[in-house]
């Protein structure tokens, strides 16, 4: 029979390291049903029938955050056979708080005290047998980073799971009238729930946790009756029920910690982390240090090594080696023209371009994992929060925007570090407005062809991107989708760790793998379709001239959409559509449409110059900078947003911003600089600006104050 071990613990307690240590390479990463909280499974090393289920890192089992709700729903409803609760031995008091909640769920708990090497190095002592006796569950010492004791703890959990013994008597966490009221609740609901979970449910009834009581078969009369008792208790303790429970948990923990843990250093003594933070989050040095770290990361992963790797993959690996091999093979089997064209132009050309970004993405994720695992990322949020809060985001939103200057896809995925669902979604919607490296190619081309003397076009586009992010943030925050109290920024600043190289690599690969698989499949299909459309006419004959292809027909069909932007010619339209698929396609497509030899830059530029006026070229650039970045980014957005409704909202919002801006730029620009008379279009442009200003300046949408932060999430 299959045995399930649930791995639970606080964030930053080394849970991921332990998980990697216990499961080796058998992990499966997905999402919990219906929500974008990561779900990881793996088989315990040496056991084919033991599944380790990694729960999200949580501090509590409260009903307020998505991760906590997901975890408790899993524990109570799926009833794993045993919980392996990992505890940071250097931060034992707060870590045991979750433990006091886990042992009430009615599943046997095994404690694994992690970072014992650090505890020993500090000279602290933890009396394991006393701790075990007090909490009523076995306690093991481990060091996940060094791989010490991990399997022993897991084997112990396995033995307990196999024994099927009910947990021993629960520790006496609550006292006085609280325990009295809880006992009364237990008596009243004993017939409604499994006896093992009785304590859990009675505490939840006491806390008036609606998320749980709504799912119980408890009658409203009984609830009302119990509420009277709870109110009595609240009056006696002069506090609300939820706080009474938390207070007693911590009082209980303080008591057992005093008996079992002996710290060498005095309270509030400076730790190594504090000393590092004296410099890293110093008043004057924090921002310069941050800029230096980001510059190095960006310089290596985007500007230098990343670009070399990407160029090599595109030009040499896919451009020569793979293409030559494929050509040689196709010739040797005398493949028909259409097949060669499909494979070389369609699949290798298209998928190759996307896979060319893999080295950059791997590098960015490598640095991200390094920053995160070391503990620096929390400091970035700490430093930047003040700025980002001003427009409805938190300090954690800064990283995705920064990565977005390289590539939007990892930027969207980097938003995963933001726990609060609402902030995460808003960050995803906004982060890609910063010009990515593919968009800068368009900026470069338009500037080179039409505004060669102007030095401010490119910087202006970056400032415009930042402005859109800020104004967009302000406007979105005021809509009913994002309105609400700002999510609390009560965030742990974890102790600095030297990350393990293996851990960083696993972390990096976990993130990049998703990109490669999803992007690969979607881009593959699109490449085949686009290739088909541009190579064939409607009678399914291969065409020599693109003008006769289905793609030209499609361009003409959709030209009306873009004619208000001055891009009504089918070639312009096709250029817009192909850039919509991938921005790096824009220049190439324009080259093909110009009918020029792609090797001859001057001819390409001339051809492009003939297709646009300076105004329409500028409009084309604005449209491309502010509509959704590319298909891959849209796919990533859709996946990270979780629900179709949210994905549609995000992508629709980006399309609207891109189109609206381009509309305003073309029509008002023509009127201001090129002598177009002020007409209906200009009027509509003015209305658009007024509407945008309304959304930015209006008062925020009303919201109920009591709505828990994560409720809109599921």
């Amino acid at each position: 029979m299959e045995i399930k071990i649930a791995l639970a613990g606080n964030p930053n307690c080394g849970k991921t390291t332990l998980f990697n240590e216990l499961t080796g390479s058998t992990q499966y990463v997905g999402n919990w049903p219906g929500v974008t909280v990561e779900k990881k499974d793996g088989l315990l090393k040496g056991h084919k029938d033991v599944i380790i289920q990694d729960l999200p890192g949580i501090y509590s089992l409260s009903p307020y955050t998505l991760e906590e709700k997901v975890s408790r729903r899993y524990l109570v409803q799926e009833q794993p056979d045993v919980i392996l609760n990992i505890i940071d031995g250097t931060n034992i008091e707060r870590n045991l708080y979750l433990t006091t909640q886990l042992i009430e769920v009615g599943i046997p708990v095994v404690l694994a005290i992690n970072m014992m090497d650090l505890v020993d190095a500090r000279g602290d002592e933890i009396d394991l047998s006393k701790l075990s006796a007090a909490l009523g569950c076995p306690v093991y010492k481990i060091s996940a980073l060094k791989g010490e004791g991990c399997l022993a703890a897991a084997e112990a959990a396995l033995r307990i799971a196999k024994a099927h013994k009910a947990p021993k008597e629960l520790p006496h966490v609550f006292t006085g009238s609280v325990e009295h009221t809880l006992a009364h609740i237990e008596e009243s609901i004993a017939d409604l729930v499994d006896s093992r979970t009785l304590r859990w449910y009675s505490v939840k009834v006491f806390e008036r946790d609606k998320d749980i009581t709504d799912g119980m078969a408890i009658s409203p009369e009984l609830l009302r009756h119990l509420d009277l008792h709870i109110q009595d208790c609240e009056q006696e303790m002069d506090d609300d029920a939820e706080s009474i429970i938390i207070n007693q948990r911590y009082e209980y923990i303080e008591k057992i910690v005093a008996e079992t843990v002996h710290k060498k250093e005095a309270k509030h003594a400076l730790t190594t982390s504090d000393k590092i933070d004296r410099i890293v989050t110093n008043r004057f040095l924090a921002l310069p240090i941050f800029v230096v770290i980001m510059t190095i990361m960006y310089y290596i992963s985007v500007t230098t090594v990343g670009t070399w790797a990407t160029d090599w993959t595109n030009d040499v690996f896919f451009g020569e080696i793979v293409t030559d091999a494929a050509n040689g093979f196709l010739e040797s089997i005398a493949a028909p023209d259409w097949l060669s064209s499909l494979i070389v132009d369609g699949i290798i050309g298209g998928v190759g371009t996307v896979l060319g970004f893999v080295p950059q993405i791997l590098l960015i994720f490598f640095f991200m994992s390094l920053l995160e695992d070391s503990g620096y990322m929390a400091r970035v949020a700490f430093i930047m929060d003040r700025i980002f809060r001003k427009f409805g985001l938190s300090g954690k939103s800064f990283i995705p925007v920064l990565i977005g200057t390289g590539c939007g896809v990892p930027a969207i995925m980097a938003a995963r570090t933001i726990e609060e669902q609402r902030d995460r979604r808003m960050t995803i919607m906004l982060a890609t407005f910063i010009p990515c490296s593919a968009k800068t190619e368009i900026i470069g081309m338009v500037t080179a062809v039409f505004f060669p003397d102007s030095v401010f076009v490119a910087p202006a586009m970056y400032f415009m991107g930042i402005a859109i992010i800020i104004l967009g943030g302000i406007a979105l925050k005021k809509t009913k989708f994002f309105a609400g109290e700002p999510a609390p920024f009560v965030m742990e600043l974890p102790a600095y760790h030297i990350p393990s190289f293996k851990g960083v690599l696993i972390h990096m690969w976990e993130r990049a793998r998703g990109f490669i698989i999803k992007a690969g499949t979607i881009i593959f299909s699109v490449c085949v379709i686009i290739w088909f459309l541009q190579a064939f006419n409607t009678s399914l004959e291969m065409v020599e001239d693109v003008e006769q292809s289905m793609l030209a027909g499609i361009g003409n069909t959709f030209a009306w959409i873009f004619s208000p932007l001055g891009l009504g010619d089918w070639k312009n339209t096709v250029a817009v559509i192909s850039a919509f698929m991938a921005k790096e396609q824009a220049v190439g497509t324009l080259g093909i449409l110009a009918g020029a030899d792609p090797e001859n830059e001057e001819a390409v530029f001339k051809g492009i110059a003939a297709m646009f006026t300076p105004l329409t070229a500028f409009t084309y650039m604005v449209l491309n900078l502010f509509d959704p970045p590319c298909l891959v980014a849209m796919a990533a957005t859709a996946r990270e947003m979780g629900e179709k409704k949210w994905a549609a909202l995000a992508i629709g919002f980006q399309c609207m911003i891109g189109y609206g801006l381009a509309f305003v730029v073309y029509n008002l620009g023509g009127w201001a600089f090129y002598g177009t008379p002020f007409g209906i279009m200009q009027g509509i442009a003015c209305v658009l600006i007024a509407v945008a200003l309304y959304f930015i300046l209006r008062p925020a949408a009303p919201y109920r104050k009591t709505v828990p932060a994560a409720q809109g999430a599921d």
């Binding site: 008091e93 707060r94 710290k263 982390s273 504090d274 929060d385 965030m491 600043l493």
Partner: protein, 74 residues
């Protein structure tokens, strides 16, 4: 006085929590309960949030959140 008014380096003890809902629960879950000793470690370079030392670890809260924690200096 409230927690946001404590000077950098100052020690204090929690007397009352005036917040509600998710914020109050979060603050308490993180270990700031009645009677807890808190040291204010520093303020972020741009003036907000603040860094606290609670129950042996470092915690960051915004000033307006700290304002819901009533304390007495130690």
């Amino acid at each position: 006085m409230t927690l946001n008014e404590v000077a950098i380096g100052g020690l204090c003890k929690v007397t009352r929590l005036t917040g509600s809902g998710a914020l109050k629960r979060r603050i308490m879950d993180m270990g700031i309960t009645k009677g807890t000793e808190i040291k204010v470690v520093k303020i972020a370079p741009l003036g907000d949030p603040m860094e606290l030392n609670v129950r042996g670890y470092d915690l960051s809260v915004r000033k307006n959140e700290a304002a819901t924690v009533e304390v007495e200096p130690l």
